[in-house]
């Protein structure tokens, strides 16, 4: 079977789920005939019609709010944000309405909010964001952020079938860069389960999304140049977090770093570090270290973007330090 890209994998999941369940529908800006800014929904409207693939006005609060209302009634909306950066325009709706609905009013929100995220693409401060940490801090939402094409498909199917709101971050740097052969059959990847992207014994790198690939590149370099054996954990789901997978790798290598593309302060690496501290401090041979973006808006010009974002060389430097510690 042929390999398909991360982007095509998401599209395939949408096709299959819309075919499987008539309650599934998509809404968003320019997603219909145009197929979306990145063409994720290309062909969907031709197949399922404009009642199930709905072009909306530029109104993110309404897109998310309407998805919530429809989801209360048993529909399963998949809302696209043209860039995930615009999720901030629906922040109130997500954090106040959607996230609390089940808890406060016993109203389920089985909906997916998805969109292209992340940097390394010279997109500047408003087309490169990684806003996942803001939502990690919001009980009631689930967050997934796949790194591989296969996970992109399997997690999208799981997200659509989930009975709560899932924020589905898609890394635009990976859209057309990574490929997989899709597993046969109904390929669903469970939400809440991490993946060992590379086995190793000396140092662990816990990461997700595009930096999984940076970590794998660093791991290869560390193996050949230093003989350091690196384990890479791809979280895949950020909320709920797979504590078992985190503890397992800590116990295995005793030296851990967390890598993410988002800024450092208040980022997810801090949360992971705290969990390690609470659950398996005694297994550590070194402090947990973070490799993250610097705490500034992501600038546009290549030398600036490259400086702000974590690079393979940073991961290598920190891994060497941990291995020697």
């Amino acid at each position: 079977m042929a390999e398909i890209t991360y982007l095509e994998a998401i599209r395939e999941a949408l096709f299959e789920e819309m075919e499987r369940d008539p309650n599934v529908f998509c809404l968003g800006e320019d997603i219909g005939a145009y197929g979306g800014a990145f063409k994720v929904t290309e062909g969907l409207q031709a197949k399922f019609g404009d009642q199930r693939v709905i072009d909306t006005p530029i109104s993110e609060a309404a897109i998310i709010g309407a998805a919530a209302g429809a989801s209360h009634m048993g529909l399963r909306p998949v809302a696209e944000l043209q860039f995930i950066d615009f999720i901030s325009c629906g922040y109130d709706m997500l954090t106040n309405y959607v996230a609390t609905a089940r808890y406060r009013a016993f109203l389920p929100c089985p909906m997916v909010v998805r969109g292209p995220s992340g940097g390394y693409v010279r997109g500047g401060p408003f087309h490169s964001q990684n806003p996942e940490a803001a939502f990690l801090h919001t009980p009631g939402l689930k967050i997934v952020y796949p790194a591989t094409a296969s996970d992109a498909k399997g997690l999208m199917k799981a997200a659509i079938r989930d009975d709560d709101c899932v924020l589905f971050f898609e890394h635009k740097y990976l859209y057309r860069r990574v490929k997989d052969v899709m597993p046969d059959g109904d390929h669903v990847v469970p939400i809440g389960k991490a993946r060992v992207a590379r086995e190793g014994t000396d140092v662990s790198i816990i990461t997700y999304a595009a930096t999984v690939w940076k970590a794998l590149e660093a791991a290869e370099q560390l193996q050949t140049e230093d003989g350091i054996s690196v384990e890479v954990i791809d979280l895949r789901t950020l909320l709920p977090m797979d504590d078992d997978a985190i503890v397992a790798t800590v116990k295995k290598t005793n030296r851990v770093m967390v890598v993410h593309e988002d800024t450092r302060t208040g980022g997810i690496a801090g949360e992971i570090t705290a969990r390690i501290n609470e659950t398996c401090f005694e297994w550590l041979d070194a402090p947990v270290l973070r490799v993250t973006a610097h705490d500034v808006p992501l600038p546009y010009s290549p030398p600036l973007e490259d400086f702000v974002l974590p690079q393979v060389s940073d991961i290598v430097t920190v891994a060497r330090h941990l291995a020697r510690y």
């Binding site: 005939a33 145009y34 530029i58 109104s59 950066d85 401060p125 041979d285 610097h294 010009s301 400086f307």
Partner: protein, 384 residues
């Protein structure tokens, strides 16, 4: 061939013979009539500069010297230039992605724009932001962000400051047909209306928001009609007629200056290029773009007007066009030679205090994160 225009008024306007000179001459234009020949030639030069500079940017984009997206205003030059021309230097405006012409009127230079698009270290934002996302309060423009609608409340706030301090200054904010669907647009216009601040809201109705035609963006007949709901004045004009644009905007600016509050000005125009350079416009009905190019090009129309009413000769146009090209050539050379930013500059200016943050320890050659802090001699040996 007739194309369904996106406004009833425009239909009427387009019923005029191609070339549209009749439509141009139709309405009385008290403000535009006060412009002199030199000012009209300045309008022409700004429009020509906008178009030629964008063509240069396309060439640079194809050479991958322009990094990131490229957004054109082809066919919308009159709306950008004519409206900004109605402002005084002390007035402040906020452009949109297709308002390079407005920026030029307000004193932005081709060199700044080229450096900005090419992500140079001496660009107005020092390489931090893209395209025409930059500002200068001295010359009276505020850099926008990408999030559509957000500039309306911000500009209402600038207008509020003028009102509070009794300053004789006016604010103009641009918004696309698509961006009127945002919550921020609604809140901002309503706020400005209630506070009666000197704000002119220019809705550029260019028929599309990315791939979405105006008819899928609003169920209202026109954007002008929305003014009624906010309790402010609303007017509509042919956005491809630079003198009409100037006239209607100048009237709104004068109203604002006189303390009569906000006006919503709807300018009818047409986006002849895709949303950005990558967009192949597959969603546009066949022939529509060609129709606008052939029959309703704002520069062609103004050339015809100037030829007839100001006796501008072909030589005079050629001389202006050549001077525009010379300016762009020189600016391109200079922008090309400009350095990229210094990486460390990325950490400067996030706060007033501290003005610069430190690079992460592994970028500085520090042996370890913990070295930066005081720590016991070795792991696990501290007392207590």
């Amino acid at each position: 061939m007739e194309f369904p225009a996106h406004s009833l008024d425009l239909d009427a306007m387009l019923a005029a013979p191609p070339g549209a000179d009749a439509a141009l001459a139709r309405a009385p234009r008290p403000h535009a009539d006060k412009l002199d020949r030199a000012q009209r030639l300045a309008l022409y030069r700004h429009m020509r500069m906008t178009r030629t500079l964008e063509e240069r940017l396309v060439a640079l984009y194809r050479q991958t010297k322009v990094i990131g997206g490229l957004f054109r205003s082809l066919g919308q030059e009159a709306d950008a230039v004519g409206s900004a021309f109605a402002l005084e230097r002390r007035d402040i405006m906020s452009p949109l992605i297709r308002n390079m012409g407005s920026m030029l009127v307000k004193g932005a230079t081709p060199l700044e724009i080229l450096r900005q698009y090419m992500a140079k270290g001496n660009s107005p934002t020092r390489g931090r932001e893209l395209n025409i996302h930059f500002g200068d309060l001295e010359r009276g423009f505020v850099g926008q962000i990408s999030h559509l609608g957000d500039m309306i409340p911000v500009m209402a706030g600038i207008a509020l400051s003028f009102k509070m301090r009794g300053e004789d200054r006016v604010v103009l904010v641009y918004i696309g047909d698509g961006a009127t669907s945002t919550g921020a647009f609604h809140e901002g216009v309503n706020f400005a209306a209630v506070q009666q601040v000197p704000l002119v809201v220019v809705v550029e109705n260019n028929g599309y928001a990315y791939s979405t035609p105006t008819g899928r963006q609003t169920a209202a007949n026109s954007f002008m009609d929305k003014a009624l709901g906010y309790g402010i004045a609303g007017v509509q004009a042919d956005g491809n007629d630079v003198l009409a644009v100037y006239d209607v905007t100048k009237a709104a600016v004068d109203r604002a200056r006189a303390g009569s509050g906000p006006t919503l000005v709807e300018l009818i125009t047409y986006r002849r290029k895709g949303h950005a350079e990558h967009d192949n416009q597959s969603y546009v009905p066949t022939g529509e773009i060609e129709w606008w190019a052939a029959h309703n090009d704002p520069i062609d129309r103004f050339v015809a007007w100037l030829t007839t009413h100001d006796s501008v000769s072909a030589d005079e146009f050629a001389e202006i066009d050549a001077s525009v090209s010379r300016e762009i050539d020189a600016a391109t050379d200079e922008a090309d030679l400009s350095p990229m930013p210094d990486a460390l500059d990325a950490l400067d200016g996030i706060y007033a205090d501290p003005p610069t943050i430190a690079p992460h320890w592994y970028r500085e050659g520090v042996r370890a994160a913990v070295d930066i802090h005081e720590r016991p001699a070795s792991w696990g040996t501290h007392d207590g």
